[in-house]
Amino acid sequence: MIVLQSVTKRYADTAVVDDVSIELGHPGITSVIGANGAGKSTLLSMIGRLLLVDSGTITVDGLDVTTTRGALLARRLAVLRQDNHLTARLTVRDLVAFGRFPHGRGRLGPSDREAIDRAIDYLDLDPVGGRFLDELSGGQRQRAFLAMTLAQDTEYLLLDEPLNSLDLRHCVQTMRLLRRAADELGKRIVLVLHDINFAAAYSDRIVAMRAGRIHVAGKPTEVITTAVLRQVYGLDIAVDEFGGHPMAIYHL
């Protein structure tokens, strides 16, 4: 489990993440929702070691993220962010191969090649494996990066707004894919989402954040309610049910 204990992150005087204690990484998909500036991405960045914790501790399977060797953590926890700008020209296969870095420190053995093949296969990237990333569409690029994190072969997978700048079709594809990875490969996925209906439809757990604190955490039916959404987003949103999932009607 990923355990956070009174984790705080401040910029100047404002606490972006304020004394948060929570367990993340239950089996299946956990979505983190909340308004802009609620501290979702900051929380994920601290778990992923991109930001230092001001106070409090974060452990992954009992390993403190600030003191444990990076390579050891990288075998348990993969992080994917949205700024996937690269200076070098890489092929899809080159990129996916990087996922094996924590295991072989850059040397690829037969088992690494197998893992790379499996990840490429799993994301249907076989036909474009030799192509350069800048020759791919946004959706394919996204899948290539996902393949890299799958090749990393970790139990936990952290994604920061994976649906950003994807069209509807690719959003649905990505969410289905993550669901499949959770169910078939046993991945424990934590992701930051802005679309609460995607969160409601695909998550096992939803964590709603407000002003740097955890507001509610629980099953989708417990979090996606008119009352909670009013407190989190400051909007009156009707919630209906469709196919067993709560659906928020917020466009009207």
Partner: protein
């Protein structure tokens, strides 16, 4: 599944073709390098072979060392800054070198500069340059910003400061002494033998450090976030790389004076020709290109133009044209 095996076959072949391309280019570059080096050493010898060869060998050694230092430092610097049009020169390291010389002449006179043991001078310059780079790095990276771009920006400002102070001091120096000083700033490849040895040892040590971190460097091309996600201790690695860059730039600057444009050209040409992100491909290619530029430039200069111009002019003319072609062609960034 037939399509599956077909895909595998294609996938298997594509990397092979690339590997061939890399090997071919390295071979070709090595060939040209050997040709130029032999040409430089053995053509157009008049008078005593002993004397000419010794003189040329010493110059050649200086060029080789500078080629290794400048090319490697530039590739490393560009990897760490995630930018392909920056060179370590932007951090003001060579400006600091010029400032040190100027301060020495200003305080103790030109005779002091000439009278000091070159090895001592070299060591002091090297230590100051490396200390400056490391201090700058520590200062910026322990602050709140922690951004490489901030580091580079502060480096740029220091470069401007160093240059301004240098200009100020140079105006206050006796004109005769200024002439001595000016002479020290032109890249010159006639270097005392002991310095060559010391530089070679330093560069070899840096190369050993480089080999130790080699594979982690490759991960840096993915950017800081991914590198950390993949278990790289980013801060530590960047600190090591900056120290290596500082050592390499300092060695090359202290050996022959400021020589800046060369690194930019050879690094970008290397990426372009090799088409690989791996440093064990790009760095050797960049080094070979640097040797070709330096030795080829010297050949042109000494045998064709009869010393009618300076090396910097040749390098920047040829390199500038190359670089413009690179930039205007598609997809180069």
């Amino acid at each position: 599944m037939p399509t599956d095996t077909l895909n595998r076959a294609v996938l298997g072949v594509a990397p092979l073709v690339r590997r061939h391309r890399i090997r071919l280019w390295i071979l070709a570059l090595t060939g040209v390098t050997v040709l130029l080096v032999t040409g430089y050493l053995f053509t157009d010898v008049t008078g005593s072979w002993d004397y000419v060869l010794q003189l040329r060998a010493r110059k050649l050694a200086a060029m080789l060392l500078v080629a290794v230092a400048v090319a490697t430092a530039t590739v490393l610097f560009q990897t760490v800054t995630e930018n392909r049009i920056l060179t370590p020169a932007i951090m003001g390291l060579d400006a600091l070198y010029v400032l040190i010389q100027t301060v020495v002449v200003y305080l103790f006179g030109a005779s002091a500069l000439a009278a000091t043991d070159p090895v001592l001078r070299w060591t002091v310059e090297l230590v100051v340059l490396v200390l400056f780079a490391t201090a700058l790095f520590q200062w910026i990276f322990t602050g709140a910003g922690r951004s490489i771009h901030l580091l580079v920006l502060v480096g740029v400002l220091f470069g401007v400061l160093f240059r301004s102070v240098t200009h100020l001091l140079q105006r206050m120096i006796d004109p005769a002494e200024f002439a001595v000083l000016q002479d020290a700033f032109f890249a010159s490849f006639s270097v005392p033998e002991r310095l060559l040895g010391l530089s070679a040892v330093t560069i070899t040590l840096a190369a050993v450090g480089l080999v130790l971190i080699g594979r982690q460097l490759d991960v840096l091309v993915l950017g800081r976030a991914h590198a950390i996600g993949l278990g790289v201790h980013h801060r530590q690695l960047v600190a090591i790389v900056f120290a290596l860059v500082a050592v390499l730039v300092a060695v090359s600057t202290a050996l022959v004076g400021p020589i800046t444009f060369l690194g930019l050209i050879v690094a970008n040409l290397a990426y372009h020709l090799i088409g690989s992100h791996r440093h064990r491909h790009t760095i050797p290619a960049a080094v070979l290109l640097a040797v070709i530029f330096l030795v080829g430039g010297h050949l042109l200069l000494e045998r064709v133009f009869d010393l009618g111009t300076v090396l910097a002019v040749v390098i920047e003319f040829v390199g500038g044209i190359f670089f413009l072609i690179l930039v205007t062609r598609k997809g180069t960034r």
